[in-house]
């Protein structure tokens, strides 16, 4: 994955983006599609900042992974509504089609897939979003052979993008539901090891608890630590 480091860092600037679609894939998430004034091409896995501005100039900003394929002219974000979340609550409950947000990106060239290195995504909950972008890119390029996706959710209906990911060949592990003969539970070494054949890089994205589990599992499956790239979110104790 040296290709990423060879890309010159392009400074990014704030731009405005108009909300063109809002929907709710699950009870606690909202999916936004935004049309930015300037769309800098991203690598699958990168994120954008969203900044909200109050009338007195007070601002709050958060970063969200892009679900968009790099060729998609729109920015697609998935926002999980957090309890008392200053930004996520606004995006989930107040924002409407036609509103304008300030955005900046793409950012984060480490957690990004170059679309040529054989890769595995082990992602959980709203951590599926960067894997969606990677999988959309792989489909467009006709190189789904380069990308394996294992997505982990609580139960059907609770994992955004589950149908899209599964339709393109992802394995879905449900932790609280027995589905199609698979017992409820986190993915196991027996399930993941065969998927790692020929894989040079693994992308782990999810909550801090999920990421710890996933890192340990991948190392148990024989992947060296320096082949694992991690994006984790959410508070820990």
């Amino acid at each position: 994955m040296s290709a990423i480091d060879e890309v010159t860092a392009r400074p990014t600037a704030w731009t405005e983006a108009r909300v063109v679609e809002v929907d709710r894939p699950t009870a606690d998430t909202v999916r936004l599609r935004l049309e930015p004034d300037e769309r800098q091409r991203h690598r699958p896995g990168q994120h954008h900042l969203v900044r909200l501005r109050a009338p007195d100039g007070y601002t709050a900003q958060r970063s969200y992974s892009l679900a968009s394929d790099p060729d998609d002219p729109l920015l697609e974000l998935l926002v999980e509504k957090l309890p008392d979340g200053e930004v996520s609550e606004f995006l989930a409950e107040v924002l409407e089609v036609g509103d304008v947000l300030e955005v900046r990106g793409p950012l984060g060239r480490w957690f990004a897939w170059d679309t040529t290195t054989p890769a595995l995504c082990l992602v959980g909950g709203t951590g599926v979003v960067p894997a969606v972008s990677m999988q959309r890119a792989a489909l467009r390029l006709g190189r789904t052979d380069l990308l394996r996706v294992v997505a982990v959710g609580r139960a059907p209906g609770h994992l955004p993008y589950a149908e899209e990911l599964a339709a393109a060949g992802a394995s879905i592990a449900w932790t609280r539901a027995n589905v199609d003969g698979r017992r409820a539970g986190a993915p196991t070494a027996e399930e993941v090891t065969p998927l790692l054949a020929g894989v040079d890089v693994a992308f782990v994205c999810g909550s801090a608890r999920f990421a710890s589990y996933a890192e340990t599992l991948l190392q148990e499956c024989g992947l060296p630590p320096d082949a694992i790239r991690v994006e984790r979110f959410g508070p820990t104790g």
């Binding site: 860092a9 909200l52 200053e86 107040v94 509103d99 984060g108 957690f111 801090a208 790239r229 994006e231």
Partner: protein, 216 residues
Amino acid sequence: MRSHPSPRQVGPVTGRVTRGFTGKRRGQQGDRLPPGQYDVGDGWPTLTAEATPTVRTEQFELGVDGLVERPSTWSWDELLALPRSTYAGDIHCVTTWSKFDMTWRGVSVDVLLEQAGPRPEAAYALVHSSSGYTTNLPLADLRGGRAWVAWEADGQPLSREHGGPARLLVPHLYFWKSAKWVSRIELLDHDQQGFWERNGYHDRGDPWVEQRYQGD
């Protein structure tokens, strides 16, 4: 050694107001919050780009080298035998959370530098971690009682996830400069970019002027 709040800053005066947004977290902590940050409260998010390494204290070694008179290393026991000091104050992560009123214990980087003796041309530091992580910062930001190698946070040994057994602590800069699992401080006469800096983040990272990304 409390952090020094700067005058209250809000976002740039230009920029479109977001319809319907008034903000919820403002005002509670007033001037202590750098622009664009929020108070994370009792939580302490973990942000790491790599798999979390296990560093055993028996194998721990910290070095100060590069442009110094006396390249020096300390084992775990030697590090703990140095004069200790405390930082009581706030930390700020570039992902926009700030955590108030932490208490850290460790050794001031001044103590390490005194033993190693920086040469006059030393102006920058590249800090290395045992994970392979690196970060760069001006040497001046490591001096003057503003930087530590710390092994205790809020009365507890620093956990592995948060960089234990010991991490760099530079609380006046964004927290990615506070390298977890610190193993080596290399002094240079030029600024050499570290891991996040090569990947688009700022070379200095002052939260009070929002030096988040290259170009800020």
